[in-house]
């Protein structure tokens, strides 16, 4: 059965083209995904991300539990509202999901995981939580709207009460505040500033309409994908999965190997690091015309790799991609597009940050 967010009728009334995404009926675009992409890069756009799963964890041993569950260290979270991006690994070091965890109090952390991995994530978290006596509560009563772009924060703030507005204006990157019955996090998946707002379902349609009246453009999953790839952000299921370790997914920066913390998958990660990681995730830019796409073969002197996420970058006007290639590949890289080998450049990503192409792209 296809699931619908509380904003489903609102999307349809706006003329959205709807698609199935991980079992959810979601807007792909509201007309032109390229215009929606530019709206986020140049002004402000909003995404319904209510399909994502909010899980609240309660219990005296919650921090201890999360030190065991996540590859990144929740010990970095010291002040209320602070957020951390992490992978949750299986015993083989493979990625079960990537997520954001928020610290609220020592006995209350909030986790946001992907929609398509909902069932296996909850089953895994509940299984591991038992030993720590942590209560796992899915918050299906909450909706989520991501408002992103250079003018996103100002437009959201214009709708808040004075006290909440002040807190939201002050909150630093990768942290959240609460007010006006909203959970307002300065996080996102676009490479622009902005907020991800968690809102009770009953208030979500009204918030969406107020944001629209404030000049925030509705944007669909199509724009969300081009924005996140330009920003150099991984998509679960495409750039990594349970057969891939963070080392091979460009996520080494999210793994914390501080001494004395025995997280799930650690032993395998340490062994792979010592033995040498055979493959690496790299960024590709194609200067010739055409589009890089998932599944295309990447030819290198060290052997073949493949494109994981590939798209046309509306900001750069050329194709960009993530590829997994044999370690050591740097130059002379080509992509097989319909039987023709086309040269591509291997680059350091992100490709785009804060509206502009990054250096070397």
């Amino acid at each position: 059965m296809t699931q619908k967010t509380i904003l489903n009728e609102t999307h349809r009334a706006l003329g959205a083209k709807m698609v199935d995404f991980g079992g959810w009926d979601m807007p792909l675009n509201y007309g032109s995904q390229i215009e929606e992409h530019h709206a986020v890069r140049r002004d402000a756009g909003m995404f319904d991300v209510s399909h994502m799963t909010v899980v609240d964890l309660h219990g005296a041993r919650t921090r201890e539990f999360l030190r065991h569950l996540f590859a990144n260290s929740v010990d970095k979270l010291k002040t209320r509202g602070k957020a951390l991006y992490s992978c949750m690994l299986n015993e083989q070091g493979g990625v079960i999901d990537d997520l954001i965890v928020y610290f609220l109090t020592e006995d209350f952390f909030r986790v946001v995981v992907n929609a398509a991995t909902h069932d296996k994530d909850l089953a895994w978290i509940e299984k591991q939580a038992k030993a720590f006596d942590v209560k796992v509560a899915e918050r299906a009563d909450l909706a989520m709207i991501a408002v992103q772009g250079p003018n996103a924060r100002a437009k959201v703030q214009s709708l808040l009460s004075p006290a909440t507005r002040e807190a939201a204006a002050k909150v630093g990157k990768f942290a959240a505040i609460e007010g006006d019955n909203l959970f307002i996090a300065r996080t996102g998946y676009t490479g622009e500033d902005g907020y991800e707002i968690i809102v009770p379902e009953g208030d979500a349609v009204s918030l969406w309409n107020k944001l629209k009246d404030a000049g925030v453009a509705p944007a669909g999953l199509g724009a969300r994908d081009t924005l996140r790839l330009e920003a150099g952000m991984n998509l679960y299921g495409q750039d990594m999965d349970e057969a891939i370790t963070p080392w091979e997914a460009g996520l080494a920066w999210t793994v914390s190997l501080e001494p004395g913390r025995d997280f799930i998958g650690r032993a395998v990660l340490e062994k792979q690091k010592a033995d040498g990681v055979p493959r690496a995730l790299v960024g590709l830019v194609m200067d010739e015309k055409g589009v890089l796409r998932h599944g295309q073969r990447v030819a290198t002197a060290q052997g073949d790799g493949e494109i994981l996420s590939g798209t046309f970058s509306p900001t750069l006007g050329k194709a960009i991609a993530f590829a997994r290639v044999p370690a050591g590949a740097t130059t002379g890289v080509e992509v097989d597009i319909r039987g023709k080998l086309v040269p591509v450049r291997l680059v350091k990503y992100p490709f785009v940050r804060d509206g502009k192409a990054c250096e070397g792209i």
């Binding site: 083209k17 792909l28 675009n29 032109s32 995904q33 390229i34 199509g222 081009t226 015309k289 055409g290 589009v291 796409r293 798209t311 046309f312 509306p314 319909r338």
Partner: protein, 132 residues
């Protein structure tokens, strides 16, 4: 959806063909097809002089979302291509039946092959069947 011009013939795979006064056949993709693909970002054109065969792929249109082959509605020699699409592929989104034409064929077997093509009503019906 835009009205389908009455002088066009279609393939089920969404190409349109128009027989011009000089007997050549102009080819593009339908307005319905551009809507399915979304914003177009690249068109791979055939070369002038290429021999194409009815039903074979001879061009590619790519949107942000997907790449799609364009099949030749009729056999013959390619005598013109719309090279303006190289810089402005979005012309197909804006004017699929006009400025968004893709190539022109000098047909070699038009009388027989045009029998296989759909008139606008039959094409509209085939779209409806696809959607249900």
């Amino acid at each position: 959806m835009n009205e389908i011009p009455g002088d066009l013939k279609f393939m089920k795979s969404h190409e349109w063909a128009r027989v011009e006064d000089n007997g050549n056949v102009t080819v593009g993709i339908s307005d319905h097809a551009q809507g399915l693909l979304g914003d177009l970002v690249y068109v791979e054109l055939p070369s002038v002089g290429d021999e194409v065969k009815a039903g074979n792929a001879c061009a590619v249109v790519e949107s942000v979302k997907a790449a799609s082959d364009v099949y030749a509605p009729v056999s013959g020699e390619v005598v013109a291509v719309n090279s303006a699409l190289g810089d402005k592929p979005e012309t197909i989104n804006e004017d699929a039946y006009g400025e968004g034409w893709i190539f022109v064929v000098k047909p070699s077997n038009l009388a027989e092959e045009s029998e296989e093509l759909l008139d606008p009503d039959a094409y509209a019906e085939s779209i409806e069947d696809e959607e249900h």
